[in-house]
């Protein structure tokens, strides 16, 4: 069942990616509508797949790379659907949905071995920590997607090349607003994720902060977004610089996510 839903999800995300890319090329309310519908269907299948796996394994499926990639994708699509409904920014999907699709494809290429859950993971603090971290990462992914679109639009405006793509992509203001919203939601979540993570670390290993790779890099990510939010709130840091920093933050998140195996579990 899990596999069935999973492959259904990959197929639907694939179709949604094609539909969202088509939105960039053609103007048709029909494509826009169906892109959103297919994505919602894919999200539902993804949700069912995750819930089914969770109920089968009796834990949240975020304990290895395969599960985490899928869960990351789920969080990204969920966050995107929320922002698309709120701000009517279909064309943003052309930049976000492919990311989720790639994560799922990567996830499906990995084999999840059947294994006993490591005892240190059997702590509510761990689940709490991981869940918060994924939602905050999803927010930052959206922020990075928005930042890329912002830079594209800004480039068009500065070089006065205002073609069809410029017309289709959202306004600078809308993207600024979404990016700010992502930051104000993502940053507190990340903060709580790090706090709950260190509490779990204390329970599992007897120390709040062990300076392992994961914790160190989490701190770096936290500092990047703290700087971004601080700059925004104090001197009104926005536009190109904020967009670049947001992209850097996302690259660091990906780097941390893919290269750092957690010292004790993986």
């Amino acid at each position: 069942m899990t596999h069935l839903f999973f492959y259904l999800t990959v197929t639907l995300y694939g179709c949604a990616t094609i539909a969202y890319l088509a939105c960039l090329i053609r103007t048709s309310p029909w494509i826009t509508l169906w892109a959103a519908r297919i994505l919602t269907a894919g999200f539902t299948a993804h949700m069912l797949s995750t819930i089914h796996l969770a109920s089968k394994m009796k834990y949240l499926p975020i304990t290895n790379m395969q599960e985490s990639l899928s869960f990351f994708g789920l969080a990204i699509v969920g966050a995107f659907i929320f922002f698309e409904r709120k701000y009517k920014v279909t064309t943003l999907g052309s930049f976000i949905v492919p990311i989720a699709l790639m994560m799922l494809i990567a996830s499906s290429s990995l084999h999840g071995e059947v294994r006993q859950l490591h005892p240190v993971l059997q702590s509510n603090w761990f689940w709490f920590h991981a869940l918060l971290a994924f939602v905050s990462y999803a927010c930052f992914t959206i922020a990075a997607g928005v930042a890329v679109v912002y830079l594209i639009q800004n480039h068009f405006l500065k070089t006065k090349r205002l073609g069809a793509l410029f017309q289709k992509l959202p306004s600078l203001e809308t993207m600024d607003e979404i990016s700010y919203r992502c930051l104000t939601v993502g940053f507190p979540l990340l903060t709580f994720a790090i706090i709950s993570g260190s509490i779990w670390s204390e329970k599992a290993m007897g120390s709040y902060w062990v300076w392992d790779h994961k914790q160190t890099w989490s701190l770096i990510i936290w500092l990047i977004y703290a700087a971004l939010l601080h700059g925004r709130l104090t001197i009104g840091w926005r536009g190109k610089r904020a967009a670049i920093l947001s992209i850097i933050g996302f690259v660091v998140i990906l780097f941390t996510f893919f290269t750092m195996k957690h010292s004790i579990t993986w």
Binding site: T27, S171, T174, R238, G239, R241
Partner: protein, 433 residues
Amino acid sequence: MNIIVVGLSHKTAAVEIREKVAFSPNQIEKPLGELIRLEGIIEGVIVSTCNRVEIYATTRDIAGGIARIKRFMAEYHHLPFELLEPHLYSYHAESAIRHVFRVASSLDSMIIGEPQILGQIKTSYGYAAEFKSSGIILNRFLHKAFSVAKRVRTETRIASSAVSVAFAAVELAKKILGCLSDKTVMLIGAGEMCELAAKHFLNSGAKGVMVTNRTFERAEKLADEFGGEAVRFESLFEHLHRADIVLSSTGAPHCIIGPQDVKEVLKRRRFKPIFFIDIAVPRDIDPKVDEIENAYLFTVDHLQEIIQANLAQRSLEAEKAEEIINQEIGQFHKWLSTLEVTPTIVALRNRFDEIRRVELDKTITGWKELPPDAEKRLESLTIAMMNKLLHAPTSALKQAGQGGRVDLYVDALRQLFQLEALPHDNEELELEE
């Protein structure tokens, strides 16, 4: 039943001719009444705008109908027919449907994609509906034309791009600043284009206007006009940070806003973007301003470029629109041609059945001693004969309805079997949707 179109437009007639044949909306009842009293004309709608005068009608006699409407247009306006005739075009059947769909979708307009024409046709149709000169076919036809126009508008970008400097500026502002409802416009100097742009910004929901001018009285006057705020020219930089959109068109020989000024202004507004539009020649705003982050400077040349690109884009989009129209013509034509099939079949059947009953009654009453079952048997016999006889023509008619040759068959059957007139010729039917 056929749809015909007779008319003239900016493409076939100069304004001197167009104004002579225009129908005034205040007295539209009279020509509409005369139109549908013309021989062979069943329904009629008159569309009269400054760029076109067109009559849409339904008739059974295409050539006669067109000729009579042409005469009517000349006679109604007391013009010599020979003068008017060369400017008139006429369409019938599929080409008439295509023409009206194209007109409603603004593909036949002077500026392709301009939005007024649809409203004008709707108004004209409104009069025809009010004075009952349009019936089931034109009602359906024009509603279809409206929905085609809507489809064209939403599915192509034919009308989405601005083709005037003022509109281009507003569109661009929306792309930078998003919703304009909390944005303020600063007008530096005066000038027709600048004022027009300011008006467009206010119409598009901008929150307010500040006006500044070297002569403060002029600024005050203009500010009054827009319900805005006048600012002394000397204190421009004390207020500039409050503006999100800056429209400049002074006669100053040098730049009045430099990059350093803009940097300071941006800092004061916490780097919220500013959109500068420089309409002045020589320029008012230093081109280096555009290199500053969160400041976007456009000159009138840039806006002109956008307009040129938009016009080219519109022609491209027009091709997509033609595709949409092609699809819709097929559908409507099918509806139109099958419209008469069912009533004709019913009438034909009734006619046969009527004859059958009369003859059957005669036979039965003339019979002295009726064998048992005879009445029943005769009844079945005649019904079977009637069904067999009707089978071939009925299916031929249905097929003709799909093939588009239906008028021929319907007319032949009506005349051959002396069927009564079709209901929509004189009665009004419910408009089916």
